[in-house]
Amino acid sequence: MFFRSRKLTIVSAIAAITMAAAGAVFAQSTSAPMPLPPTVERGRVPRVAPPVRIWNEDHERAIKTDANINLSLCVLQGDVKVNGWNRNEVRILVTNGRNFTFKVQQKSARSGDPVWIMAVAEAANKEQAGPISECLRGDEIEIDAPVNATFNLKGQEVNTVVDGIRRVSVKNAGGDISVRNISDGVTAATYRGDLTVEQSKGAMVLENTAGNILVFDAGPSEIGDIFKAKTTSGAISVQKIGHRQIEVNSISGTVAYNGDILSGGSYSFWTSNGSIKLSLPANSSGMLTASYGYGSFNSELPFKLNTETVTPGPVKSIIATMGSGGDATLKLTTNNGSISIKKQ
């Protein structure tokens, strides 16, 4: 039959092709010229450019400044640690990184000391061509600044810790931000990372795209200071804060608040997809407006119901008076989650 004859043909053809290919390969391998070793001219050392050591050295600089110095810098890579001290001097140590210098932007008319400086990276060498980023780079960037300093940072992938200065403004594309002991305001934003604020005062605007926000023991430094915390994807936990105007907003994540409801305060907690959990003192009072969709409303604190709209649909709402009433307003909104108020 055809099968047997074709099988024979197939096997013969495969054998012929294999032998032909092997022969060709063997012929090539034997006839190919051997590569010649590189020749070095006698008596002359081949010129090899020395490695440019720009990223693996430590650089430290200090500058005398005014007490209320404003320090600005941008960082491409590395962990940034800022520490407040009682000297009118800014010192920066870059470990395993790029050299830098201070650029004085403004001086005090009274003392002549700088009141605004920038830390900018220097070119690795004079011949380096092209535009050079002014951003610092290193394994670790350690900064000591006067306690009354204002620190401005823009960073790419930077973990930032700031402790013990007056004001902080940090905006990073990625990395965690941790802020402690700030006396007059925090503005912090990271697009990917967690954000922590502890024992700080002043107006606070905290934004986060993907990550959690934790605030513990914060308050205003002046009357009217606001507190805003917003994340698109993450949980927000706020504990013991003394601001009277609070806005907490998450798109996907739980919102938790543990603290007092101060008279005249305005408290707004919002999440599109998550729960709202409040832990309040038993004597808390104020006007409560709660809107929730696919979830429930539970309160351990007594309240007097003014209006309740419970219809089948995505919005149920409750307007109630907590405690003795008062002029604080509490607005809780979740589209898809529960609202619970617990007694502290």
Partner: protein, 293 residues
């Protein structure tokens, strides 16, 4: 193996399509019922799958046998003898005149002829159009109005709408032929289905500005997000966007059902604001990264 199992030669013939219809039915019916033969068929198929691609070139260049060539030539001769006269004439013409140079000359002649015909035929139509053009402004006025989608996330492009309030007057000559009208579709972004606005379902106060802002931001984010947000960040972004869109859709339905539902309105506005913030975050991140370079 059963007694009535088919041999491998028959299976190979079955695979090669060499069996007649009755045999194919018999073999396929047997293979369906007999595991052993089904296994044999599978083995043969596997073997063919390995071998045939390797030797495809050889098979494709197989030379037909002499007997086959003889048969083919005989068939051609028979067919030629029985052809009618007009086919032979056509063959003569095709051989004699269908050369590339003759074809090129003929094509050129046709193009010149058609062009001349079009030019001579257009002259009277042009006269008509100039005459009618003087009348046209009185006939219809055209105004561009924005078409607003009932979907809040969608803004349709401007579309020309003709208002025909004035009485229609048309002057035609006996040989007048109306010019062929071409309708050009307005460009619509592929991700935004355009929906014609129902004016009775208008926006809430202030809602339209949200919708326009979101539409504008969405367009810019579409072009940026592939470079700016990646991996898990992208997943979070898309999920959050879906969450916000879902909230907007639900709240719009709720507000449409009960326009006095203030809670739903507030949630709707807040959801719009969330979406704006979410979309803005992409641009802001890109700006930040760009400013560091």
């Amino acid at each position: 193996m059963k007694q009535d199992c088919i041999d491998i030669g028959l299976i190979q013939a079955f695979m090669d399509g060499e069996l007649d219809h009755g045999q194919v039915d018999r073999v396929s019916g047997h293979i369906a019922a007999c595991d052993t033969c089904a296994l044999l068929l599978a083995d043969a198929e596997d073997e063919s799958a390995v071998v045939f691609p390797a030797l495809e070139r050889e098979f494709n260049t197989l030379v037909p046998s002499q007997r086959l060539w003889t048969k083919i030539n005989d068939s051609i001769a028979t067919e030629r003898g029985s052809r009618p006269f007009w086919q032979k004439a056509w063959e003569f013409l095709s051989v004699g005149f269908l050369t590339p140079s003759m074809l090129a000359a003929a094509s050129l002649l046709i193009v010149v002829g058609v062009t001349a015909l079009v030019l001579t035929g257009r002259q009277p139509l042009a006269d008509d159009s100039t005459k009618i053009a003087a009348v046209r402004p009185a006939i219809a006025t055209t105004s561009a109005v924005p078409v607003i989608s009932s979907n809040p996330d969608v803004i349709a492009p401007d579309v020309a709408v003709a208002s025909t309030n004035a009485p229609t007057v048309r002057a035609e000559r006996a040989d007048y032929r109306p010019a062929v009208r071409r309708v050009y579709e307005a460009p619509v972004a592929d991700f935004q289905p355009a929906v014609v606005k129902d004016t009775s379902n208008g926006y809430l106060p202030g809602e339209e500005s949200y919708v326009r802002t979101i539409a504008s931001l969405s367009r810019s984010v579409e072009s940026q997000k592939d470079n700016t947000i990646r991996g898990s960040e992208r997943m979070s972004f898309e999920r959050d966007l879906a969450v916000v869109d879902d909230a907007i859709t639900k709240m719009r339905v709720e507000v449409k059902k009960d326009p006095k539902n203030e809670s739903a309105k507030q949630v709707l506005y807040s959801s719009y604001q969330n979406k704006i913030d979410l979309l803005s975050s992409v641009s802001q991140k890109e700006e930040l990264v760009a400013s560091l370079k």
